[in-house]
């Protein structure tokens, strides 16, 4: 099972629900890895959704696991891409051309969900039209508050900033604009005193 129950946290930390079908003439679905499974579950609830759906899927480490099943559902448009960055021009165009009433379904890792949500908000999609379901990896997208660099797929606390090399602890404070949690130097007051990295949520 690819679902995880996140513990209660501070108010800026995103929360996730289960995707449910909504009435609309246009559905945009963006998912990565195990998020594909959430789309399959969504369509089980309403098979008619796919006739008006544009699916953008980035399988990542799940490889072929969900691709064929998604294609079999015959979405109006389907794209399977290698990375989020590769999918981004297509995603931006879809958001730019979106009609009133577009429903957005996001599923997969927090990093994917957050980045698409940020793009959608910048494009003027109302938050009430965005649904989010977390599936798969618990990795976080982290911004280093010191150098501003983003480190993707952070699985431990603390971790090393992939840009400036500082040892950062993982906060729950989250920026929807940046689509990132905040990382802060852990040994500023006692340089070199860095506790061993612990896997998130263990």
């Amino acid at each position: 099972m690819s679902k995880f129950q996140f513990p209660e946290a501070i108010r800026s930390r995103p929360v996730y629900a289960t995707l449910v079908p909504r009435k609309s003439k246009h559905h945009l679905m963006v998912a990565n890895a195990e998020g594909g499974e959430a789309l399959l579950d969504l369509v089980k609830a309403d098979a008619g959704l796919m006739a008006d759906a544009h699916v953008i899927y980035i399988p990542g480490k799940t490889g072929e696991a969900y691709i064929e099943q998604l294609q079999k559902l015959q979405p109006a448009q389907v794209y399977v891409g290698p990375t989020y960055d590769a999918a981004l021009p297509r995603l931006r165009l879809a958001l730019k051309n979106a009609h009133m009433g577009l429903q957005l379904y996001l599923a997969g890792t927090e990093g994917l969900i957050g980045q698409v949500e940020s793009e959608a908000m910048a494009a003027g999609i109302p938050v009430t039209a965005i649904q989010k379901e977390h599936r798969g990896s618990l990795a976080r997208r982290m911004q280093c508050v010191h150098c501003k660099g983003i480190t993707e797929d952070v699985l431990t606390d603390p971790f090393v900033c992939s840009h400036c090399g500082l040892n950062l602890f993982v906060r729950d404070h989250y920026s929807r604009r940046l689509a990132a949690f905040q990382g802060v130097c852990i040994d500023a007051e006692d340089p070199g005193n860095v506790p061993p990295a612990k896997e998130l949520y263990t």
Partner: protein, 352 residues
């Protein structure tokens, strides 16, 4: 009024100092011997003569040096001043509010001459005399918010009001108690306060937001907040925490009186007329423990407040490790006698 501006620094050699005048008018934030979050807001309609509450935007002896420090912070990190595109009108609102207030409240320091949209602004302490067209950004060296807040003490958050919430969509932040504008910009009231412990559970933010959504033009509000800072460092930013955090480890029983500062924020809230935004100036006042204890009531009270503060708050405010040392120092100035209600010193009670 005749203010003598200090030549002083808030970094490196830390020559910052408070005169007797500045100590006497310090906004001591504790009206009783203990502290817990509350919706401690009141109207901002002046205050006792000479106090920091008297004017809409208090100017004190640190003005020129603080503006010099702000310019240095912005040169190092321009992301400390940001404005989302829809906030420019609120920036003009703010420029007008500050120019009108300061020229009326301190006519010997600031002048505003208006002829239709043609404005001339004279800032004598900083040696500025600029003419520009109101609402025409191309006639100023910076955007309106940045222009005027480079000349006004305190951080500024410009809040947009929509969806029954406030959104921090612009600001200039160089004297902050460890929060990042670059990270928080675009957040709503509950999101940017998310890291504060205990207050959400007490319903503080729900009530505070209600108050703020209803602030009317011409009826500003204010409150105090506080924390502790080692050295008179204005820019305690998360951005630079990996550089200044080590200073917290430099306290010793011999230097704690000089190096440990109480940091008080005078937060005010003004409704802006054109944008219907809200501006939220956050003005920082610093005072060393050894200066606080020259007011016996404040020394006694601060000792009791710090001693009894819940661990969560001492941790959040970043002085949990130094609390024992701070208490050792302050306890020498607490003889156990009663303190009078309210924040003001008791000169008549404190002789001898």
């Amino acid at each position: 009024m005749n203010i003598k501006f200090n030549d002083e620094t808030f970094r490196d050699d830390y020559t910052f100092h408070n005169s007797d005048w500045a100590i006497q008018r310090f906004p001591f934030p504790f009206h009783e011997d203990h502290y817990m979050y509350a919706v401690n807001m009141e109207q901002h309609r002046g205050g006792p003569e000479g106090s920091v509450y008297e004017k809409r935007f208090d100017v004190d002896e640190h003005y020129v040096a603080e503006m010099r420090d702000r310019a240095m912070v912005l040169a190092d990190d321009p992301l400390r001043c940001q404005s989302l595109p829809h906030m420019e009108l609120a920036g003009w609102d703010l420029l007008e509010l500050i120019m009108v207030s300061k020229s009326e409240d301190y006519p010997d320091l600031f002048e505003l001459h208006r002829n239709g949209d043609h404005w001339r602004w004279v800032n004598k302490p900083l040696g500025i005399d600029d003419s520009f067209t109101f609402m025409d950004e191309t006639t100023l060296p910076y955007g309106p918010m940045e222009y005027i807040t480079r000349q006004t003490q305190g951080d500024f958050a410009l809040l947009d009001q929509r969806e029954e919430n406030l959104w921090m969509d612009a600001g200039i932040v160089t004297t902050q108690a460890d929060w990042s504008l670059d990270f928080d910009i675009g957040m709503n009231f509950f999101e940017w306060h998310a890291p504060v412990p205990l207050a959400h559970e007490k319903g503080i933010f729900v009530r505070a937001l209600k108050f703020l959504l209803n602030v009317q033009q011409g009826a500003p509000g204010r409150r105090l907040n506080w924390t502790m800072t080692v050295n008179p460092l204005l820019d305690t930013s998360p951005e630079n925490y990996h550089k200044w955090g080590i200073q917290k480890s430099s306290l010793t029983p011999d230097n704690v009186g000089q190096k440990q500062y109480l940091r008080v924020e005078l937060q005010t809230f003004f409704r802006l007329p054109r944008s219907n935004g809200l501006v939220f100036p956050i003005r920082c006042y610093l005072i060393s423990l050894e200066d606080i204890v020259t007011i016996p009531k404040w020394g006694r009270r601060l000792h009791r407040v710090i001693r009894d503060l819940p661990v969560e708050l001492a941790t959040y405010k970043g002085f949990i490790d130094n609390r024992p040392m701070i208490l050792d120092y302050l306890s020498k100035f607490d003889d156990g006698s009663e303190t009078s209600p309210g924040v003001w010193p008791d000169p008549q009670l404190e002789k001898g």
